[in-house]
């Protein structure tokens, strides 16, 4: 459990990614919610309040409130169907694309409500990247185009720079060695696990401030999984990461904070060491020790 400490000395140095234009100085939010992570003395990257998500008449998330600290890894765990993906997708407004979905409550990204009036979902998603549960590279595009497509969308045209960013992203995603000789091959020609790492590289290339990862390693072999975990650990110097995982060991290895969801509710949210060693809720304990799930 060597990863619990967050180097808070690094917070809010000038090098931090662009602050939201609108936020001003957000007042330090200190509501007495049971679901606050302890020791979140600095402004959180994401602050979720009373989040409810409905699909048609079905309520899938029930008044979830939690704060995701900046530059740390927060793991979301819980049994299948409890709303983990739904929660993750509400953090970058992916539900906007589902006509039957309705989101209530508040999600603040560095103090700015991403569901607020006048906020464009496109700009939110440029700052909050996502890796999906099922890998979804653009199949007809080449490996390199897949990685650089986000940059090109944002107007980056210089070939040298694109090539450099592409290599960096592929190296970070532990894929470079396997694809460096076939960067022009279509993405469809990669193996399933390679495709997933390609998706990770694609998300990294645009340098989002927050990276949402929905079971990024569920299709990977142990070696690639270890590489992705190393990547996550190295990324948290600069990025805020929220990761959904079914793998308890993985949550314990990479995350600083862990949230346990059950039937659409946030049951417990605390430091990872607390959740895995002495959770305060019986259901959490049962789940992390594998007694139900």
């Amino acid at each position: 459990m060597n990863t619990i400490m967050i180097d808070r000395g690094e917070m809010d140095t000038g090098a931090s990614p662009a602050e939201p234009p609108l936020s001003g100085q957000a007042p330090p939010s200190t509501p007495a919610l049971q679901s606050l992570p302890p020791s979140s003395s600095t402004a959180p990257a994401l602050s979720v309040k009373d989040l409810c998500v409905y699909f048609g008449p079905n309520q899938v998330l029930r008044s979830v409130s939690l704060e995701v600290p900046a530059r740390a890894v927060t793991a979301i765990i819980g049994p299948s169907g409890c709303g983990k993906s739904t929660f993750l997708r509400s953090l970058n407004r992916m539900h906007d694309l589902v006509p039957s979905a309705r989101v209530e409550g508040e999600v603040k990204l560095f103090g700015q409500d991403i569901y607020g009036p006048g906020v464009e979902a496109v700009l939110v998603r440029r700052r909050v990247g996502m890796v999906f549960q099922k890998s979804n590279p653009f199949p007809t595009m080449s490996v390199s185009d897949n990685v650089t497509v986000g940059l090109r969308l944002n107007g980056l045209r210089r070939r040298a720079l694109l090539a450099e960013r592409m290599e960096q992203s592929l190296v970070m995603a532990a894929l470079w060695d396997e694809v460096k000789d076939r960067l022009n091959a279509p993405a469809i020609s990669l193996s399933g696990g390679q495709q997933q790492r390609l998706c990770i590289a694609r998300a990294l290339a645009v340098q989002p401030e927050v990276l949402l990862m929905d079971e990024p390693a569920s299709a990977l072999d142990p070696l690639a999984t270890a590489k992705i975990e190393d990547l996550i650990l190295s990324l948290k110097k600069d990025y805020t990461i929220v990761i959904v995982t079914h793998n308890m060991q993985q949550a314990a290895r990479v995350s600083d904070f862990t949230a346990f969801f059950y039937l659409g509710e946030l049951i417990e949210y605390d430091t990872t060491s607390k959740i895995f060693t002495s959770p305060s809720q019986k259901r959490t304990e049962d789940y992390v020790t594998g007694r139900f799930g």
Binding site: N92, V122, R125, F132, P139, T140
Partner: protein, 324 residues
């Protein structure tokens, strides 16, 4: 005694001999069907060739390159019809393809649900209009109106191009191209819409998650995924345009000539056959040349399709289908 046996591994054996037999039958059946299509095309081609033997032996290859067509003076050259067929189809595609793909994109990506179904129904209705009705409308309404209100302006604006020079006839190659476009649009739109609908939602989400706008999502996730299929839709439209007869006959002006101007009248292979077939007496050279026109039309269609396949192979890139 219907005592149910407990489920144990290996306790249930399907009672059918050789599961591979079905596969075998299926394989041969499909092969035979596929060959039947070839045989059919071959048979049609053969019949046309037999019918045109007389013309072939008389005019040889000259038939394909000669521009003179005057049955009374026994002059037979097919080039004006080949030209008319290719040009009117090209105009039709030039107009129909952008409109159809835009319409399909609108229907799949943008249209609010309440608008979608009415528009789809409308397009399907358009596809169901018999071509003779459409031609009649083109003859009595569209062509005169265009000739009076549109073509003069077009000439004023683009008259520096040879294709827009010269005397304006409302019954001309351009009118034929337009009526063909109207006939091609419903097909290409419907097929394109099906193809765009088959693009997985996950592809769109991937692009949205990169911060793409709706148009960017359409470009990088939808069009790049579907481009091969869309190309197929266009080929289907081209096939329709090349072979269409009735509506074209009624608006193209029916004169066997090659003029650079799209405002001049022309003729296509299919409408020449349709127009003259009733007048050609059995056993005459004239009838034989009409058969040969049919053979040429079949050839043009096959060549254009082959070229299209070649273009697809060369430029469209890999398929989006998951590897087996």
């Amino acid at each position: 005694m219907s005592e149910t046996a407990p489920i144990r591994p290996g306790s249930w054996r399907p009672k059918r001999g050789g599961a591979a037999v079905g596969d075998h039958v299926f394989k041969w059946l499909t092969l035979v069907m596929a060959l039947a299509v070839f045989a059919l095309i071959g048979a049609i081609g053969w019949q046309l060739a037999v019918g045109s033997r007389e013309a072939m032996s008389r005019f040889g290859w000259h038939f394909l390159v000669s521009t003179d067509w005057d049955p009374r003076r026994q002059e037979f050259g097919a080039l004006p019809f080949i030209y008319g067929t290719l040009v009117s189809s090209a105009i039709a595609l030039l107009i129909a393809v952008p409109i159809s793909i835009a319409a399909a994109l609108f229907l799949t990506e943008l249209a609010p649900p309440w608008l979608r179904q009415p528009v789809i129904t409308l397009i399907e209705l358009l596809a169901a209009v018999p071509s003779v009705i459409l031609g009649f409308w083109g003859l009595s309404v569209m062509a005169p109106w265009l000739g009076q209100h549109v073509y003069p302006h077009l000439q004023a604006a683009l008259g520096f191009l040879p294709i827009f020079r010269g005397a304006i006839s409302p019954y001309c190659t351009l009118s034929a191209g337009l009526i063909l476009a109207i006939m091609v649009i419903p097909i290409v739109t419907s097929v394109s819409r099906e193809i765009l609908r088959s693009v997985p939602g996950l592809q769109r989400e991937a692009a949205y998650a990169l911060g793409a706008t709706r148009w960017e999502v359409t470009r990088i996730a939808v069009l790049s995924y579907a481009k091969r299929g869309l190309f197929g839709a266009v080929i289907l439209g081209l096939g329709r345009a090349l072979g269409e007869t009735m509506a074209v006959t009624m608006v193209i002006g029916n004169s066997a000539q090659i003029v650079a101007s799209l405002f001049g009248s022309g003729q296509t292979l299919s409408s020449e056959i349709a127009n003259e077939f009733g007048e050609a007496l059995p056993g005459t050279v004239f009838l034989s040349t009409l058969f040969e026109l049919g053979l040429v039309l079949l050839g043009v269609t096959l060549v254009v399709n082959a070229l299209a396949q070649l273009v697809l192979k060369t430029f469209a890139g890999p398929t989006a289908k998951q590897r087996p």
